[in-house]
């Protein structure tokens, strides 16, 4: 009985996760990404792309998101920068595994 309930719970959780994944977009933006992990820029989409590129953001760039409050604090290419959520939402990223 106990194992039946456990199996039911697991199936329910899995289907819920699948539903959420179906609704959520397939990419994540720098604004959505978790704090403390290394990320790789996959693309930039939005009106401020040119400015972001001028500031050094580009595809394949590795970024570490350090903190997020009103703005985001990130580390990239040895520099630390603060940028607004508006700009961060235009940078699409994926998680990057980094080995020390």
């Amino acid at each position: 009985m106990k194992s039946w309930f456990t199996r039911k719970k697991a199936i329910s959780a899995a289907s819920k996760a699948a539903e959420v994944a179906a609704v959520k977009p397939s990419y994540q933006t720098l604004s959505d990404a978790g704090i403390g992990c290394w990320l790789k820029v996959t693309s930039m989409v939005g009106d401020d792309c040119e400015e972001l590129r001028n500031l050094g953001f580009c595809e394949q760039l590795k970024i570490k998101k350090i903190a997020q409050d009103k703005h985001l604090l990130c580390s990239l290419c040895g520099s630390k920068v603060a940028l607004s959520k508006h700009l961060a939402e235009q940078i699409r990223v994926e998680e990057e595994l980094l080995v020390n």
Partner: protein, 700 residues
């Protein structure tokens, strides 16, 4: 003389290198956006050749987005023909190469000989090998010199590299895809045929940067505009984007070079900067730290500066005694005692505080904390339509509004820049310091402790700052300035404050202050003394109804020496002029003496303390007793002159009034509008008058 220009991203170390090469004292700071104007100096190579060195404002790209970047672009492209560059030194921060090298690729398109300077090399985790440097130089086709400008290492090697023949002008180091490359070359040829300056750079910017096209396309001849548009359309028809091609080509080239250098890879290790920022960037802890830092700054002004202030007071006391002893009685003695010593001494006593203020601001600027303060202030400044980047020009204005107003060149939005310029004079500058300190002494005397005086001083600065923010909130509605969404700020690594630069900055500010004291203030003190002393004759027939003595007096013998002296001053040219203007400032609680001091200080605010010194000093008296004399001063009716209401009225007037013509001239230059400058001057003067009047009327 050959011309060498320094170019690079903001905070890459250009001005530090400029100072190291020329021995000059260009303003440095660990903050992106310190240099906003072209600065020139000379230096000699080991071969004895003298070269002119030009320091340019930092720029992220040659498609300028702010006024300071435009300054660099105009100088490099040399549209006016006034800036012929023979050699470019492209300075990059070695720890951030991948972001900094794309600018180098644009610089190379200028077809001017250049040298790549790898600055801050010793800050890299893995040191660059000499073979890597040579390899990089071979790949770029230009000399590469590793240095540390702050520690002055590598400077000799750099000077040796600048020898004849100069390096060959490099080619553009990257290529578009085949189809787009053909189109780019075709456009380049069209630019060359049309005689366009910097054709390679402009052709790639026209194709690659939408922002550049929006700003500059209309400046080109009509046929070139059509040629450019046709080229973009042609590339588009091939299923490509010129914009993406350009950025991708530069980035790939930069990434390839960095890979070649095998520099330190991204790591999870926390640096000291990261550990400090955990607290200093925290919204609550960081804000408290910022407030505490400001309080310590003002506390230091009262504590550390009190010793040298005492020495200066003693010096002037000794001078007073010498003059009183050795100069015979007469007009010359009076002039020296009541004009020169009283006037100059009343102002020079504040010299240590001026120097200390500039030293402390310099320590702030060079440590890297300034950027953190800008980040923390962004939240508050966003409420009034400004961004945290406006905080740096406003902070500079605490020292002097002129460099603060010029520092607004780093702001990319024109309305935000204008709004910052309009409110900058309300950041209490160093010239107000003598007025504040004098009036705090008059109001509180010895009853307030040093810490209390520091809090009072901080409050005066906060009054001006808060009013500036409120003014910005009101003005931005009229200007339709919305909050900036695209906020970006570099937070440089913390470094030990540059004591040498800060001390030099403080001493330079002190010298400027002494120079002003020796010229403007001395002149005004002598004029005030003269106008107050003559005519010496007293005429009882000209007694006013509210004169210092009763109109029933029939003979001068009936008057005491003090009454005779007061009557003489009243009937002097200064007294008559002051009485004439007095009704204008009467609602503020000022008598003719304070009115005279306020009007004279429109030439320089420090003059207030000097004129007080001349008008309230007595023969042979120490300067330090000026505040006590002012506390005891009375009006013609015998009531106290410097009441709480009058003193606060004076303080409020000086917080808000724009009494600095050089600032107005700078505003005119930066806004290109006499209307804006005049409106600011008149508007702030009226605001100061009304505010001071309200304070006086309420408190009395």
């Amino acid at each position: 003389m050959e011309n060498v220009a320094l170019v690079g991203l903001p905070n890459s170390g250009k001005t530090t290198l400029f100072n190291a090469l020329t021995g000059e004292q260009g303003k440095v700071g660990n903050y992106a956006g310190m240099t906003v104007a072209v600065k020139k100096g000379n230096f000699r190579t080991p071969h004895g050749r003298e070269l002119e060195l030009v320091d340019l404002p930092g720029c992220y790209s040659l498609s300028p987005r702010s006024k300071d970047e435009r300054v660099t672009y105009d100088y490099l492209v040399n549209e006016s023909g006034n800036s012929q560059i023979d050699l470019l030194l492209c300075v990059v921060d070695s720890s951030d190469l991948q972001r900094q090298l794309p600018l180098l690729s644009d610089i190379m398109a200028l077809e001017i000989p250049c040298i790549l300077i790898l600055n801050k090399v010793d800050l890299l985790e893995n040191s660059i090998q000499k073979t890597d440097i040579q390899g990089l130089s071979d790949r770029l086709g230009i000399p590469v010199i590793p240095i540390n400008a702050l520690k002055k290492s590598g400077i000799l090697e750099l000077k040796q590299a600048i020898r004849h023949p100069l390096p060959v002008a490099p080619n553009r180091p990257w290529r578009f895809s085949e189809v787009a490359q053909g189109q780019l070359q075709h456009l380049e040829q069209a630019f060359i045929k049309a005689g366009v300056k910097a054709p390679k750079l402009k052709s790639q910017l026209i194709l690659g940067s939408r922002h550049y096209r929006e700003m500059f396309l209309e400046d080109f001849p009509a046929d070139i505009q059509k040629e450019a548009q046709d080229t973009i359309d042609q590339i588009k028809s091939e299923g490509l984007s010129a914009h993406d091609e350009w950025f991708q080509a530069r980035q790939n080239w930069s990434a390839d070079l960095v890979k070649h250098l095998k520099l330190s890879q991204a790591t999870n290790k926390l640096s000291l900067t990261d550990k400090l920022d955990r607290w200093l960037l925290h919204p609550i802890v960081g804000s408290i730290t910022l407030l505490a830092a400001m309080f310590i700054l003002f506390f230091s002004l009262f504590t550390l500066a009190s010793y040298p202030m005492g020495w200066i007071e003693s010096l002037f006391g000794w001078l007073t005694q010498m003059v009183a002893t050795f100069i015979p009685d007469g007009d010359m003695k009076d002039l020296l005692l009541d004009g020169v010593i009283a006037g100059i001494g009343g102002v020079l006593v504040f010299l240590p505080q001026i120097i200390l203020l500039f030293i402390l601001i310099g320590l702030f600027e060079t440590s890297g904390y300034l950027a953190r303060a800008a980040y923390l202030m962004d939240r508050m400044m966003g409420l009034v339509g400004l961004s945290g980047k406006s905080f740096v020009p406003l902070l500079s204005s605490y020292a002097c509004a002129i460099p603060g107003i010029m520092a607004t060149r780093t702001l990319t939005r024109a309305k935000e820049r204008l709004l910052t310029i309009l409110i900058a004079p309300w950041m209490s500058c160093s010239a107000r310091l003598p007025v504040y300190i004098l009036m705090i002494a008059v109001l509180w005397g010895d009853s307030a402790s040093t810490a209390e005086k520091a809090w009072i001083m901080l409050s005066l600065y906060l009054i001006g700052t808060i009013t500036a923010f409120v003014g910005a909130a009101i003005l931005r509605k009229g200007m339709k300035l919305t909050r900036s969404k695209a906020f970006f700020l570099e937070l440089p690594r913390y470094q030990a404050p540059d004591w040498r630069f800060s001390l030099r900055q403080g001493v330079q500010a002190g010298l400027n202050f002494v120079k002003a004291a020796g010229t403007i203030i001395l002149s005004i003190s002598i004029i005030i003394w003269f106008l107050q002393t003559y005519p010496k004759e007293v005429n009882l027939a000209k007694l006013n109804q509210d004169s210092v003595v009763a109109s029933s007096i029939e003979s001068l013998d009936e008057l005491s020496p003090e009454q005779l002296s007061a009557l003489q001053v009243e009937q002097s040219w200064l007294g008559r002029a002051g009485r004439f203007v007095e009704p204008v400032f009467e609602p503020l609680g000022y008598d003719w003496r304070i009115t005279t001091a306020v009007l004279c200080s429109f030439s320089a605010r420090e003059v207030f303390a000097s004129v007080m010194g001349v008008l309230f000093q007595e023969n042979g008296e120490d300067v330090e007793n000026l505040s006590k004399r002012m506390q005891q001063a009375t009006r013609l009716d015998g009531s106290q002159l410097f009441t709480k209401a009058t003193s606060w009225s004076i303080l409020i007037f000086y917080i808000y009034a724009l009494q600095c013509f050089p600032t107005t001239v700078t505003v005119r230059k930066e806004t290109n509008s006499w209307k804006i400058a005049a409106a600011q001057l008149v508007g702030m003067s009226i605001f100061a008058y009304v505010a001071a009047m309200l304070v006086y009327q309420i408190l009395s």
